[in-house]
Symmetry: C2
């Protein structure tokens, strides 16, 4: 199944989910169409399989791991590093989720529920940073701003380029917590 998923996600990214046909997936996966239909009846089942697996991976053991991290800022750091790690390790799946996930239409509901759970875990860590005393709307804006910093990498970041996933995580963590004007890693050179 993952052989089909891997071939499909590559095509979804290169050609687009809607433009990709089952014939192309079958040919890319080097399997007969009958072989594919044994596992998946429709293209949307393949997309669902890929995205659902990725969300399960993101959520797996997350709460327990967070409990083991001491300190509000350290928890935020852990979340950013982990998010960037998974999204850069599986860039095609990440891009498909963020750019084309909505094309699943009604089947997207299950994915959206898992995304919501993930969002709530992150928002709750951020809320704890303010001791829970932060306006709901403000917390929403801050949480999605953090997601924006992390998720947008699908549009520009090259995992094989000069900036490692760890360096990227540190840049995002430093901006989010201290900003370019206050973080020591962005210190201006002295004249």
């Amino acid at each position: 199944m993952s052989k089909i998923g891997n071939a499909a996600v590559k095509l979804f990214n290169e050609r687009g989910y809607l433009e990709t046909t089952m014939d192309e997936i079958s040919s890319a996966a080097k399997m007969s169409k009958g072989g594919i239909y044994h596992y998946f009846l429709t293209k949307s089942e393949i997309l669902f399989f890929i995205l659902n697996n990725f969300m399960d991976l993101l959520l797996e053991g997350l709460e327990e791991k967070l409990d083991g991290v001491e300190g509000d800022l350290e928890k935020i750091k852990f979340l950013i590093y982990r998010h960037i790690e998974y999204h850069t390790k599986y860039p095609s799946v990440s891009k498909t989720l963020l750019q084309q996930g909505h094309l699943l239409r009604s089947e997207y509901k299950t994915i959206a529920e898992k995304e919501k759970k993930y969002y709530q875990l992150v928002a709750s860590v951020l809320s704890d940073f303010w001791g829970g005393r932060i306006e709901k709307e403000r917390l929403t804006a801050i949480t999605f701003t953090l997601f924006g910093m992390c998720n947008w990498i699908y549009s520009w970041y090259n995992p094989k380029g000069p900036v490692t996933a760890q360096e990227l995580s540190e840049i995002i963590y430093q901006i989010f917590t201290r900003g370019i004007d206050q973080s020591p890693i962005f210190k201006k050179p002295k004249n």
Copy 2:
């Protein structure tokens, strides 16, 4: 032409660019198909028209206005407020550009060139903040992180909701320059 563009962009967002037909655009714009074909021969010409206009709007007078703003942080603030203003004023166009712009395929080149120009203006303001003394790869990561914070709003922000575009701009500006741990606007309540 803008009547067609407005009707089309609404459909592209609700139903998707690929799924939308010229018939639907004609019906939503309350124009005959002949009337539409007078202006646009294909659906991709409509999408191009919408996105190209938006990029022109974003770039119009930007360099001159930036020149009139004193101070590196003030220039960054100006860019963030302006970006959020335009993207929240035209949320459907913004979302279509960021989520479906790539569907233009080869015609996307012109849009991509204008996006690049916009990117370079922002990157150059950021570079000035470090007196030009910042590694290229680092500058790229920081610039796209800022774009991520600003662009991601297409996926969550409701211009009619409780957070105004100005409040959102200030949140993003404060996070980007001082972070949640250093900016006075995110001060933790005293126990």
